[in-house]
Amino acid sequence: MVANVSPPQAVTRARSPQLTLNQRRYLAAALLLAPVILLRLFTTLYPFLQTIVLSFHEYNPAFTPRTYVGLENFEKIAADIVVKSSIEFTLIFVFGSTFFQLFFGVMVASLLNSRLRIPNFIRTINLIPWAIPMVVAAVGWRWMFDGNYGWIVDLLRRIGLQINWLTDPASARVAILIVAIWKSTPFVAVSILAGLQGVPEELYEAAKVDGANAWQSFWGITLPLIMPLMVTIGMFMLVWQLAVFDLPYTMTAGGPGFATSVLAYQVQQKVVTLNYGYASAISVIMFLIVGLIGALGLAAFRRVQVSM
């Protein structure tokens, strides 16, 4: 006969699911982090997904409901000369300004890193353009390029050059590039300066012993050693400047015509006129361009690392 005996209390507790100390720690950590993660997802992932969803819809909040239109918004972009022109200038702006920012950045950084006795305040002055808010800088430059009151125009006129900076399509593009280069070169220079200071002095001494001049040292030692840093900064500047809005908005409002219109400006134009579906489709195109440039940048970075 088998006795009907209840298991002891301790055995029951042992059979119930118990978490180890480590598991409990992970659980507590997850619970504590959950609000932040949820907030982050809500403010980044949700808008991102919503933008993608909206890009396939015709949606004006004043005239609901939204209508699914498939790829119609993207087809419209393909035929929209304003958006196509904006894509063109966005790419010109991003690649043009990044190239010259790196070019002048290396020059300025080399100067600051040279053995010349450069006072500290010069190094500080170098950073001033970067510290000025973009809108403030753009308004200032807009006045400097003004055909009636601008000193740049006046100065050039005195030497016989008549340039309609902000009213001629090509000149307006150049003017925007000049301001972008002026504004961000100090940041690039300071970043590259950090890289230059990490180049071992012995390499230059060895090169000098081998008879290399300054130019050869720069091409043979400095540039290869700072190249990974330049690729990283270049990639950062490319992606960062793809979202440029404040500069063309303040200086030219995308004009003359739409010569200086950029993608972000077009997104803003569509949003303020409540064309949310189309604005989302342009945003998706922007995202794809950012992704493509990011991928190219990563590939370039790996290539530089491998060849080092």
């Binding site: 309609n164 003359p256 006129t273």
Partner: protein
Amino acid sequence: MSEQMSRRNFLKSSAAAAALAAAPKMRGPWVINRRRQNTVVLRIQAFAHEAIQAVLPPFQESTGLTVQLDTGPSSGVEHLTEATTAYAAGDSPWDVVSDSDEGAPVEARAGWLEPLDGVIPQETWDDFPQGMRDAFPVWYGYDGAMYRVPHEFAVGYYFYRKDLIGEAPKTWEEVIEKGLEVTDSANNVWATADGLTKGALMFVYLAYLTSQTGGDIFAMDDGLANAARLLYEMINTYKIMPQDVINMNYDQQNELYMDDKVMFMRQWPFFQSVAEGNAAWYSPDKVAIALPPAGPMGGGSWWGGWGFTIPKLAPNMDGAKALIAYLTSNEVAPQLAAGQSWFVMPRTSILNAMAGTGNPIVDAMGMYADAGVIRPRPFHPRAAEAQIAVEDAISLYITKQATLQEALQTGKDLLAALE
């Protein structure tokens, strides 16, 4: 008996307490309850607050309501963007709103505004001249109901330097002829100028010229083509208008005029106050107003303006209705006009009250009305987008990036995409 609380129990009870404390405050974002009884919020541009505040005491005393003023943007498109996010979310922070031509027609069609037919007494509607009332069904009403009451009457006036050129050119031909005489580009002196920077300022000027050609700007027709051609010729062929106008705003335009660099120009009525504010420079001869120059279809200048609306979700609907009726009444409208030129309109009550005061804008308003040159603002149901489309297209021609025919076709394509 005291019992020590374990850490687990402490956390459990703390979480439960926090949840209980938060529960009454946690409502879904779709539940918005702003109902208020004793306050009415009026959203209007900051520069109008002083004039509004001056007329409020009798209203507040008689109704027991407190009116709060909230500052709205001076751009109609910006107001539409801001209001849309609130209205579409089922909310309105405001009871009465100063609303724009770009915003109100869209909001009325979206069902976001309260009909005002029974709110505004007939005597108020009758106080407006027939010319304004003709535009009501399009710009202030929708589907047979009224949703907005005008509080502004903005006409582009033709200012000229009586002290320097004696008389303003009366026709387009004279504009060119006299323009060539007075322009001295080497010294930055121009016959005319206008703020044409992007953001619909070029649209404003093109619509002004098109009102003189009898064209329909949103049809991209011959009337617009003539207007665009004149603008192109003034800038590029005859060079009587500086090329910088393409990137110029109204402040820059006004500065140029008050710097004695411009002989005649179209400008909104606010320039009168700007000029008078420049006491060291101002004299009536420097800011004289003439009838607009006649184009192929005679003189013309379009009018538009801001007006009061009540959002359908106004937190204090009764208070909003009382306030809008009060502010637009035949008694209060002249007081507002006396306090701020922005409120000057050709309403009978205002014209009677301001007759003989020598107010240049009131006089000009009468002159323009008598000459029959005031035209209604060109209408498009998606005004904000359509204005940008016209501006984008025609600016291609003005800046020599396309021929006129290409620009017109571009405009047609851009406008077709809005349908």
